[in-house]
């Protein structure tokens, strides 16, 4: 079973891949990570094979885990997505690009399949200990990113990127590390390990601060929407919810009131100089139209392409992954040049991306994935209210911020890791029921 353990550790390495930056590659922040994630997927499969070949215990254990996995609707939605991606690649406008991926994103079918393998790997090979290690590593990296961000700010960089190459991707990853930190906090409190609790809580708080420093409006909006949704969720629950002796409903009510009042005050005074000194809020107050205008144009291009090209394969399977650039070319709108002179390879709206690149079926599979994610997360509330709230909040924040941007390698990793974790919690819940 040594190979089993190696498989687990290779999958755990995924939480370190966000650190990989290799100069002397065309895109230092992307190319190295692409190599890392594909390598992790290959390594995990290789050692899973060795484990299965060399140990009947490993084969039996894997079979049991597969049987459990087969009861996870998230797994089936993810699998449907990958299968549909195969068809999307076959019928793609450029099969080469859809299969190998554009060099500047490092995605394509090959990388997305690697992430699917990593997700399935975590579902089959991770137990409580491995999840804890993964979250610990993710949380431990938060101060590293934060310090790097502060150094960049001190050097005059407006929006820090740390090891991510793009500030929005860093902000999206901070959502994941906030979850990791909060779970560590929960583990620490449950097991009376105060160091773990403090480390986790600190990582969560620093992650939120980090989001403000990145000044990513989409992620901030996602965070606010998530917090409001969670407060409403708590308020409408019938049972009495408590943190210690305090009523969670009261806390949620007060928090909601503060958010609404603050939101109103902020909106009314958004032109005041005071807000220019608060990272994150200064960018929201500034309401820079450049990004918004160009993104609206890209979204319109995507929808125009979907409307115009009404062949069955385009409607059902889309243009193929990473093929949005061809939509940009074919449906080019000269107005975009004023805002952005580069080729756009994404519509900057995840749903439009899925519709154009993977068609109606791909979009439905993606939405099904989210439906099952929220359903599974919500069901956890019966036994684990805190975790349920946390995962619902993450899901809302992540979904909302993706309406203004797109996934990249690190956020794909975060997304599939959280999916895997929800599946694991679902398995544990089933075991308790039985």
């Amino acid at each position: 079973m040594q190979s089993w353990k190696i498989t687990q550790w290779i999958l755990i390495l995924g939480s370190l891949a966000c650190l990989v930056v290799i100069n002397n590659l065309w895109l230092p922040f992307i190319d190295g990570k692409e190599v890392a994630y594909r390598g992790i997927a290959f390594g995990a499969v290789l050692f899973a094979l060795i484990a299965s070949v060399s140990s009947s215990e490993a084969r039996s254990k894997l079979a049991r885990k597969c049987a459990l996995l087969a009861r996870d609707p998230i797994f089936w939605a993810a699998t449907a997505g990958i299968v549909l991606l195969v068809f999307s690649t076959i019928f793609a406008y450029s099969r080469t690009v859809a299969f190998l991926g554009e060099t500047q994103r490092g995605e394509g079918f090959l990388t997305l399949f690697a992430f699917y393998i990593i997700y399935v790997g975590t579902r089959l090979y991770f137990e409580k200990k491995e999840w804890r290690i993964t979250f610990s590593i993710a949380a431990a990296l938060v101060p590293v990113f934060f310090v790097m961000s502060l150094v960049e700010l001190a050097q005059g960089v407006d929006r820090p990127v740390a090891t991510f190459g793009n500030t929005i991707f860093l902000a999206g990853y901070y959502l994941f590390t906030a979850v990791a930190g909060m779970e560590l906090l929960r583990f620490g409190r449950n097991e009376k390990k105060s160091a773990m609790a403090w480390a986790g809580g600190s990582a969560a708080v620093i992650s939120i601060l980090g989001i403000f420093i990145t000044k990513s409006r989409g992620v901030l909006l996602g965070l606010v929407v998530a917090l409001i949704a969670v407060c409403v969720f708590i308020l409408i629950r019938k049972e009495t919810l408590r943190i210690g002796t305090r009523s969670l409903k009261k806390i949620a009510g007060w928090f909601l009131a503060v958010v609404l009042v603050f939101g109103g005050v902020f909106y009314a005074t958004r032109t005041a100089r005071f807000w220019t000194h608060i990272p994150g809020l200064n960018r929201i107050a500034a309401t820079d139209v450049t990004n918004t205008e160009s993104r609206l144009i890209y979204t319109k291009m995507g929808l125009e392409a979907f409307r115009a090209e009404r062949t069955p394969t385009r409607i059902l399977f889309g243009w193929g992954w990473d093929n949005f650039s061809y939509i940009w070319e074919k449906y080019y709108d000269p107005r975009v040049y004023t805002f952005d002179i580069q080729i756009a390879d994404r519509s900057h709206d995840k749903l439009v991306d899925m519709l154009t690149m993977t068609g109606v079926l791909g979009l439905l599979a993606y939405l099904a994935l989210w439906y099952f994610y929220f359903r599974q997360s919500y069901r956890l509330a019966n036994t684990q209210m805190f975790v349920s709230l946390l995962l619902v909040a993450w899901g809302i924040a992540y979904f909302v911020q993706n309406l203004f941007v797109f996934d990249t390698l690190v956020t794909f990793y975060a997304f599939y890791t959280i999916l895997g974790y929800v599946g694991y919690l679902h398995d544990e819940r089933l075991k308790e029921h039985n």
């Binding site: 002397n24 049991r64 690697a114 137990e127 000269p334 080729i343």
Partner: protein, 301 residues
């Protein structure tokens, strides 16, 4: 290894199930191994090696890159991006003024990139823009090949415009290319067409239109100045040295014409352009404001 609690059957699985499990994992491992080694690790290792040699090639030893024993295999997924990045780098080095004479890297980069573009029909429109710029660069650094290189650049821009007919970046580059070939009026026609379809502020188009109008004939100065100002007031940016040169010529022209209004416009612009002498231009503006007249100026011939 201890198992955690589980609810499924703990009996060993059948032999066929075991065989299926091993077969699936085996096929996956083979496929992913191929993907990882042939399509990921090896190409990026080659790319790393290539870019590691760029600095040395630029400084002293071009053969670091022009060596025919290029390890990047023909079907490598990074071929196009490697060749494109060399072309873009050479253009940057040239625009920064650091290129020393005719570098053998320029024809090497242009021909290699052209070969890759030809092999990749899925190439995006920016490939043709970069290819055109590579040939224009070759025309600039190797006068003997100027006519041929400019024609090849024109072919690349034209090809790009068949893909995205309204791509402004292509239009500007093509218009400059036509100007360099002595066909300024063709460039002007191109920009006029772009202005007709570019329904937003089109500041950059106005800038280039003004530039070409002046190059076609300095007697177009009035219209050229209006277009340049329209462009730059909206944030258009062009080659700073070219802009500065044209405005300095206009300064002399309008001074000779006694056109105070346009002279003032030119001085205001020169006072904020990079690498000019803002103090001098500000003094001129102060004189005009005080005296409502042209100041006495001695121009260097």
């Amino acid at each position: 290894m201890k198992d955690s609690k589980n609810t499924t059957n703990t009996a060993p699985i059948g032999k066929s199930a075991q065989a299926l499990q091993v077969a699936v994992l085996g096929v996956l491992a083979l496929c992913m191994g191929f993907v990882f080694i042939y399509w990921t690790l090896v190409p990026y290792a080659h790319m790393y090696s290539y870019f590691s040699r760029v600095e040395s090639a630029f400084k002293s030893n071009p053969s670091e890159l022009t060596n025919p024993n290029d390890p990047i295999y023909r079907e490598s997924p990074v071929q196009l991006s490697v060749r494109m990045s060399l072309v873009e780098l050479l253009n940057k080095v040239y625009e920064s003024g650091e290129m020393k004479g005719d570098s053998p890297l320029v024809p090497f980069a242009a021909s290699n990139f052209a070969a890759e573009v030809a092999r990749h029909p899925e190439c995006l429109v920016n490939c043709y823009l970069d290819l055109g710029k590579a040939y224009d660069l070759l025309a600039s650094v190797e006068p003997a090949q100027s006519a041929q290189a400019s024609a090849l650049a024109e072919a690349a821009y034209k090809k790009g415009l068949t893909i995205v007919p309204e791509d402004q970046a292509l239009v500007y580059a093509y218009a400059i290319n036509l100007t360099n070939q002595g066909r300024v009026n063709d460039g002007i026609t191109l920009l006029k067409h772009s202005l007709a379809i570019d329904t937003t502020a089109a500041y950059q188009t106005h800038y280039y239109y003004g530039l070409l109008l002046y190059r076609a004939d300095p007697a177009n100065a009035n219209q050229a100045l209006a277009e340049l100002e329209k462009g730059m007031s909206g944030g258009a940016a062009g080659d700073p040295a070219t802009t500065r040169l044209i405005y300095q010529k206009m300064l002399q022209y309008y001074y000779g014409q006694g056109d105070l209004a346009r002279f003032t416009t030119v001085v205001k612009r020169l006072s904020i352009l990079p690498e000019t002498d803002p103090a001098t231009y500000k003094k001129i503006l102060q004189y005009i404001e005080a005296n409502n007249n042209l100041p006495p100026i001695q121009f260097n011939s």
